[in-house]
């Protein structure tokens, strides 16, 4: 039987079987498993049926805990049910997993295994999550490659029905979940043949039904719980046999034979590695290579990890094995060893004591590959070499340099075994240029249109704007087992010329490799513009050099900056994988397949780009000597602090893997304010200030998402030594008469979003197209503006207090406050960060921030550099992220702590009155800290207090010295997106706000889970298309503000900076001033809305004027003044709702895919908006 060959990633392979073999699917987004939910939702929306001819029901839940609960309920009601998750998501499922296993329930959860957050969060892959879940009593099968993920998904489904034990189908997050490989797709017939319908019926009959009532889920007591717990043993005992039976049946059908433990290697091997997951492929490849060299080595691949069959394990092990190295992709601090190591030790020990093994082999355990750390043949060989030593290290690590506790073993990093017949290509691209998409298509073309096997893996950096991607493509005549990044590429494509300066793009190039360079320079100029160090590499490695000005070709084909198909065509031409004509025909075929749905013009545009590519590509004859005068710039300024130089700069340059353990902070603590050292220079155009036109309104400063545009007012004398091109004019404040005003742009940090230009209201009266801010090319002004920026930073800040007369309660004044959140990695034009930055300006020097996981935690806390910074006094926001689900509680904990500290400090002041003196003590205790001046005075008192306490040795004095800063007001802010506030964290949010404690919540409402790629949340609008709501969100947005107002004592504001910036500032100030709980719900335009980001502020205005997003403030303090607490800050709708909706792709898409539904949702939305407005009006008009 011929089966389809498909080129897909691991997530799709797992979801394929899951969707075919289930009736109910409960989903929730979490990286890297989200695509499995997305596939399921899309397939169900498209009416794709399972093997029984019915379309599975897919439901998104509010958390992984919720998904597990729904799965449990559905299973208990007799339906075939599944879910997908990873990392903390799996941890949230554990309580239900115990129940599901205890009740002997058939199900398979598909897990893209990922690290757990410890000293830091990581989205990347290892086995920490599934190892944390292993005590729940689930069977665990590991798939090591994309093919095996699909195969194991089916074997697990077969086995769970027969054994009644639930299964985890585990594969490595990213490395397997996101790796694209050519595989053989299982057919419906294969799946049907593997699923015994009698067992399905039996599963259904075990379900709860009033037609056959019984009770399950009782509470049991000491008399019976224990015995009842032991009833399941027989089922666990049977699993190995059942799984092997399923594997054998599968082999009979499909031809691929698996075993619980698969041994590869010499029959008389003396050294054997035991491991599981994708690294088994790499290890197998290495073992085979070393076997050919006569080594007596082997590998045991663990497939069924739970229940662990010691008997089968020992049987799989060659009797000649003298040393066994068990490799775990997890860390269990404090244990006698990692889990698999312990299992192997136990299995061998039991076999020995049972007389089934003659000699006890030496067993060592090691850790590798945490958080997708590379695991290469060199490391495999390093482990084998270690095993050869007379005293090999136990509890070792491999792949890092542990220079502290010296766990790491040595290996020869140059050991490389990549087969000669495999073509290895590396592509350096930008997220925005479509490189990854094109490479996925290339893999598909090679995989599906040739006899070659093909593999693609994609590495992304942590930034959301200007993000770099590195694609690793392999293809060759045999299945590819090299599950690691390419180390010696014979083709390197650099899609952006400036990458040559920033990264060691040719470090991976093999001798004789081909370099394809996208160059804006002519063929005559290009060589001289290549940095000297890069020229040297090209010469030394004897590389062939081809260049193309892909941007010009793309521009001529109306494709903007999307150079993907152009570069792809050149790759095919140069790689010779197919004859050129055939390759171009295939590329065009794939273009039509991929883009056809998007319209004929898109297809034609891409065709034109493909046709133009080859003729614009030129070979450059590589000179014999490097002649360039361009030297590689230092990664960071020499002025950067030591930690930045020694650690951060290394990570920035891509050398983080080489940092030793001793370089890393021990507890996840990193310095604040490090983005300022990472000059990214990602925008070709930057705003330039026209001081003669500027009205000094401050709107540009307010909306800048990256805090790159700043203003100061100082005395003229401060400008005495200003650089020649530094601009300043008379300040237009009556309070600051006689002083000078300046605006300065950090051109190296600007992302070019143009929001500042869009919002600028000042126009030239003779040429209205010229504003007070206009975009201009960055390069010509780079040097001068770098100097100007340095000068600007040294100018004094406007004092926040001392009677400068500024109120800082309006946009004009606020622009002068120093932002303490700068140059984040957020998207260009981000709708969230302007609020975040504003918050930092207003309260930054006394803020504590609890940040829910999501976009805001990523742009706030993702290494290498972070944006929260500090002022000249060294004060700035403290920031931390706990989890996704617990952020409100995390912030509440902060409040409790600082309140307690302040309380105790006050008690100590009272107790130590004699030492401190009455005046100071009274001042400290009675301080009114409701404004900046008073806070500054209190700070001064604390300084005096510390001076008095210094040197005192009694405990109360030392305690007070230790706690003195707690006497100054702290502002606790709980920050997160709508996924957190409306869904996963809602219970906690509700509780924390209801507690009455003085916490401030800022909800950055993008109406989707933006960070994970735009899945629907309860904040998503009715009829909006989002992932997990492919048919349009069927229910209206939850009115979070109204829910919170119902308490009566919570300050609630709904804001949209683009519609009313003054109201935004008022809301922040009032929320902070309110001595109780407050919540601000901020409309945050987002890339996931399908808008041009430079139109973000206009979209905000449309949301308000259409009535969709009414602005209001509910201030409980007004009640005390006898006033109505609710003030409406926007007017009744005047813009038709459709003008707002259909200017955003998220709504517009549905009018194209399902116009009837779109029309229905629009009408319903209009009604809901009107009804809600009436209710708000009524509430606002009430007598107080």
């Amino acid at each position: 039987m011929t089966r389809n060959k498909v080129t897909i990633d691991g997530n799709e392979a797992a979801a394929y079987v899951a969707h075919k073999t289930n009736e109910v699917i409960a989903i929730y987004p979490i990286t890297p498993s989200s695509p499995m939910g997305e596939f399921s939702d899309e397939w169900t929306a498209k009416g794709k049926k399972n093997i029984w001819g019915t379309v599975p029901n897919v439901v998104e839940m509010q958390s992984e805990g919720g998904a597990a609960g729904a799965v449990h309920g559905s299973l208990q009601s007799g339906s075939l049910t599944t879910t997908f998750t990873a990392s903390q998501g799996l941890l949230l499922m554990i309580p239900n997993m115990y129940k599901i296993a205890g009740e002997l329930t058939s199900t398979v959860f598909h897990i893209a295994a990922r690290s757990l957050a410890a000293q830091g969060l990581s989205i990347f892959g290892d086995h920490s999550d599934v190892m944390a879940a292993r005590s729940a009593g689930w069977a665990m099968l590991f798939g090591n490659s994309v093919q095996e993920i699909m195969d194991m998904a089916l074997i697990a489904q077969t086995s769970t029905l027969e054994s009644r034990l639930p299964f985890l189908n585990v594969f490595d997050g990213f490395r397997s979940s996101h790796e694209v490989q050519k595989i053989e797709e299982l057919s419906d017939d294969d799946i049907r043949a593997m699923i015994d319908d009698d067992l399905v019926h039996a599963h259904r009959l075990r379900g709860l039904t009033p037609d056959r009532p019984f009770i399950r889920g009782t509470a049991q007591n000491p008399d019976v719980y224990f015995q009842a717990r032991e009833t399941v043993n027989q089922f666990y005992d049977a699993v190995p046999g059942i799984v092997q039976g399923a594997m054998d049946k599968f082999a009979g059908l499909v031809g691929r034979q698996y075993h619980l433990f698969d041994y590869v290697g010499a029959p008389d091997a003396e050294r054997v590695i035991v491991l599981m997951g994708s690294s088994a492929e790499t290890t197998e490849e290495t073992v085979n290579y070393l076997l050919a060299q006569g080594e007596k080595i082997g590998l045991v691949k663990v497939r069924l990890y739970r229940p662990f069959s010691g008997e089968h394990f020992v049987a799989a092990l060659p009797k000649t094995a003298k040393t066994i190295a068990v490799l775990d992709r997890t860390k269990e601090p404090g244990a006698t060893g990692e889990p698999l190591y312990q299992d192997v030790i136990t299995a061998v020990a039991e076999a020995m004591s049972g007389g089934k093994m003659a000699a006890f082999p030496r067993i060592i355990g090691g850790r590798y590959g945490l958080s997708s750390k590379e695991f290469t043949p060199a490391m495999v060989k390093g482990v084998f070499d270690e095993m050869s030593k007379s005293e090999p290290k136990n509890h070792f690590t491999v792949g890092i340099n542990d220079d502290v506790t010296h766990t790491s073993i040595e290996y020869d990093a140059t050991f490389n075994i990549e087969p000669k017949e495999v073509t290895r290509a590396v592509f350096w691209g930008l997220g925005a240029d479509g490189t990854v998409g094109a490479n996925k298509n290339s893999i598909k073309i090679i995989g599906e249109e040739t006899d070659f096997y093909a593999q693609g893996y994609f590495v992304y950096d942590s930034k959301k704007s200007g993000a770099r991607t590195v694609s690793h493509l392999r293809f060759g005549p045999k299945p590819i087992q090299s599950i690691y990044l390419i180390e010696k590429a014979n083709f390197v494509a650099v899609h952006h010329f400036n990458f040559l300066e920033k990264y060691d793009t040719l470090g991976l190039a093999d001798v004789g490799a081909t370099l394809l360079l996208n160059s804006p320079f002519s063929t005559e100029e290009v060589w001289d513009n290549i940095p000297r160090a890069v020229q040297e590499q090209i010469i030394t490695k004897k590389m062939k050099l081809y260049v193309i000005d892909a941007y010009t070709v793309a521009k001529e084909a109306n494709m903007g900056v999307r150079i993907n198909t152009i570069m792809q065509t050149c790759f095919f031409y140069l790689s010779g994988v197919l004859p050129p004509d055939e390759a171009i025909a295939k590329i065009k075929y794939t273009i039509n397949k991929t883009y056809g749905k998007r319209g004929e013009s898109i297809v034609k545009m891409n065709y034109a780009a493909v046709d133009a590519a080859i003729e614009h590509m030129h070979e450059i004859k590589v000179p014999a000597k490097a002649t360039s005068t361009i030297e590689l710039p230092p990664v960071v300024s020499p002025e950067a602090p030591d930690f930045i130089q020694k650690v951060t700069a290394k990570i920035m340059a891509g050398g983080g893997d080489l940092l030793p353990v001793s370089a890393m902070p021990i507890d996840g603590t990193y310095p604040s304010g490090t983005t300022k050292w990472e000059k990214r220079n990602i925008s070709l155009d930057v705003p330039v200030w026209e001081q003669d036109l500027c009205i000094q309104c401050g709107k540009c400063m307010l909306v800048c998402p990256h805090a790159v545009i700043r203003a100061k007012v100082c005395n003229e004398s401060e400008f005495a030594n200003a650089p020649a091109t530094f601009k300043f004019v008379d300040a237009r404040w009556k309070e600051l008469k006689g002083q000078k005003y300046t605006i300065q742009v950090a051109v190296e940090d600007c992302t070019g979003c143009t929001l500042c230009v869009e919002v600028c209201p000042a126009k030239d009266k003779s040429q209205v197209g010229r504003k007070a801010l206009n975009m201009a090319p960055q390069l010509p002004i780079l040097e001068q503006e770098r100097i100007n920026w340095e000068f600007f930073l040294k100018l004094p800040e406007v004092p926040r207090y001392d009677g400068a007369g500024l109120k800082f309660n309006n946009v004009k004044d606020v622009q002068l406050l120093e932002p303490l959140f700068e140059f984040s990695g957020a998207c260009s034009g981000c709708g969230e960060t302007p609020y975040v930055k504003l918050m930092s300006q207003l309260f930054g020097d006394r803020m504590m921030i609890a940040n829910a996981t999501g976009c805001s935690s990523i742009y706030s806390g993702n290494l290498p550099t972070t944006p929260w910074t500090f002022n000249a006094q060294g004060r700035g926001p403290s920031w931390s992220n706990s989890l996704f689900e617990d952020n409100a509680e995390f912030g509440m904990g902060m409040r409790m702590a600082v309140d307690k500290q302040a309380e105790y400090a006050r008690e100590l002041v009272e107790r130590l009155r004699g030492v401190i003196g009455d005046e100071l003590a009274n001042g400290l205790l009675k301080a009114d800290q409701s404004n900046e001046s008073n806070i500054a005075q209190q700070r001064q008192r604390v300084v005096e207090l510390k001076a008095k306490l210094a040197g005192l040795t009694d405990l109360p004095s030392r305690d007070l010295l230790n706690l003195a800063d707690a006497l100054v007001k702290k502002s606790v802010w709980i920050l997160g997106g709508d996924g957190w506030a409306y869904d996963i964290g809602y219970g906690g949010l509700d509780h924390v706000l209801a507690s009455g404690r003085n916490v401030n919540v800022l909800v950055l409402d993008t109406e989707v889970y933006s960070n994970t790629g735009g899945q629907a949340s309860k904040a998503t609008g009715l009829g909006a298309i989002a992932k997990f709501a492919a048919g349009g969100k069927p229910t209206p947005k939850k009115d979070l503000g109204m829910l919170m107002m119902s308490y009566g004592y919570i300050y609630v504001a709904q804001i949209a900076m683009g519609a009313n910036d003054g109201q935004t500032i008022k809301a922040f100030i009032e929320a902070e001033a309110y001595n109780g709980p407050s919540i601000i719900i901020a409309y945050s335009h987002c890339i996931a809305h399908g808008i041009e980001m430079e139109r973000g502020l206009d979209q905000q205005e449309l949301a308000v004027t259409s009535g969709y997003w009414p602005l209001y403030r509910y201030n409980p303090m007004l009640k005390a003044e006898g006033k109505n607490p609710l003030q409406l800050d926007s007017k009744e709708a005047k813009t038709p709702l459709k003008d707002y909706f259909y200017s955003e792709n998220r709504y517009k898409m549905l009018t194209r895919s399902n116009p009837e539904a779109a029309a229905k949702f629009l009408k319903q939305s209009e009604e809901i908006i009107q009804e809600r407005w009436k209710m708000y009006q009524l509430l606002a008009k009430r007598e107080a």
Partner: protein, 327 residues
């Protein structure tokens, strides 16, 4: 009363046609137009540029992503229906729903686009096609010869690619309108729709921005097409339609007398409802009865330049006379 007229080979029950407008977006409106007496409906224009723009936007939004956590931002739907399908479907649905002729309307940007979409509109069942050609030659180096040739090429290409009658909606901004009408006809146009009414942008003085501003027509605006149809009638062998400022039965009468085979209206129907067609037809009939006309055809072109007593009234003397009358 015989109100019958012919337009590009189609026999129409009267000379009132609903011109290209958003009215035709809803099938219900097309039914109402038939019920109230409209003789034919010109569908809203299919804009190739709009289709392309929408495609480009969709493509760009669907291509966003390529980050570790967000590989994309939107689900991959089965179909997006960008392109002309919705428009073409509306033609075939309208054809099935009513008995009056349905005339497609097309604004293309590329040669391939004009002919390709014209064929698709024909396949969808349209009885005729109106080419909504407009081009603002803002480049000072672009000569009228080049612009005129572009118009002629479009007409010739489209005519070659389809068999249904083709009308050209022309603008009044040609240096030699009569010559242009003649050449368009020679290029194959079966009808000339006089004139295309462009939306003119306005200024927002507070924001100092150029803003779109839709103004509905008034009867006064009919003077220009009235004059030109009167001049061209009998000189250029083509069917004329007047489509600007037709609001009343008097406007219809004037248009027909100038030489139009049909008069087209939109503003009146948008302002005062589709039912106005019926009222105008009743008034028209009444007037014709009162003035003892037998048929519409009887009066067609009766007041064209060649048929009036003072042909010069349509030329420069006309201008002079107006000025004098003010005095």
């Amino acid at each position: 009363m015989n109100l019958t007229t012919t337009y590009m080979g189609m026999t129409l029950k009267n000379p009132i046609v609903s011109s290209a407008s958003p009215l035709s977006k809803k099938l219900d409106n097309i039914r109402k137009l038939e019920d109230t007496g409209a003789a034919a409906v010109v569908m809203e224009s299919l804009f190739e540029e709009e289709i392309n723009r929408e495609s480009r936007q969709l493509d760009s939004f669907l291509s966003l992503g390529e980050g570790a956590e967000a590989l994309s931002y939107f689900p991959d739907l089965e179909t997006f229906n960008v392109g002309p399908d919705e428009y073409l479907k509306s033609i075939s649905v309208a054809k099935k729903a009513v008995n009056i002729p349905i005339i497609g309307s097309l604004n293309g940007v590329s040669t391939g686009g004009w002919t390709d979409y014209a064929q698709k509109i024909q396949q969808a069942g349209a009885d005729a096609l109106e080419l909504n050609i407009y081009y603002l030659p803002t480049d000072p180096n672009m000569t009228s010869t080049i612009v005129e040739q572009m118009y002629l090429d479009v007409v010739r290409d489209v005519k070659k690619s389809i068999t249904i009658p083709v009308a050209v909606k022309v603008s009044p901004f040609f240096s030699a309108l009569a010559n242009m009408a003649h050449r368009l006809t020679a290029a194959g146009a079966n009808g000339l729709v006089i004139f295309n009414r462009f939306y003119q942008p306005d200024f927002d003085l507070e924001k100092l921005e150029v803003v779109p501003n839709l103004m509905l027509s008034t009867s006064f605006e009919m003077r220009l097409p009235l004059r030109w149809v009167a001049i061209l009638y009998g000189r250029v062998p083509v069917d004329f339609a007047i489509t600007r400022g037709v609001h009343t039965y008097e406007d219809v009468l004037k248009g027909v007398m100038a030489g139009a085979k049909v008069t087209m209206m939109t503003s009146e129907l948008l302002q005062n409802g589709i039912g106005r067609v019926g009222e105008i037809l009743a008034d028209l009939t009444k007037w014709m009865e009162q003035h003892e006309y037998d048929s519409i055809e009887q009066m067609q072109g009766s007041m064209s330049q060649k048929n009036v007593a003072e042909p010069a009234a349509f030329e420069r003397a006309n201008y002079m006379k107006v000025l004098k009358s003010w005095g």
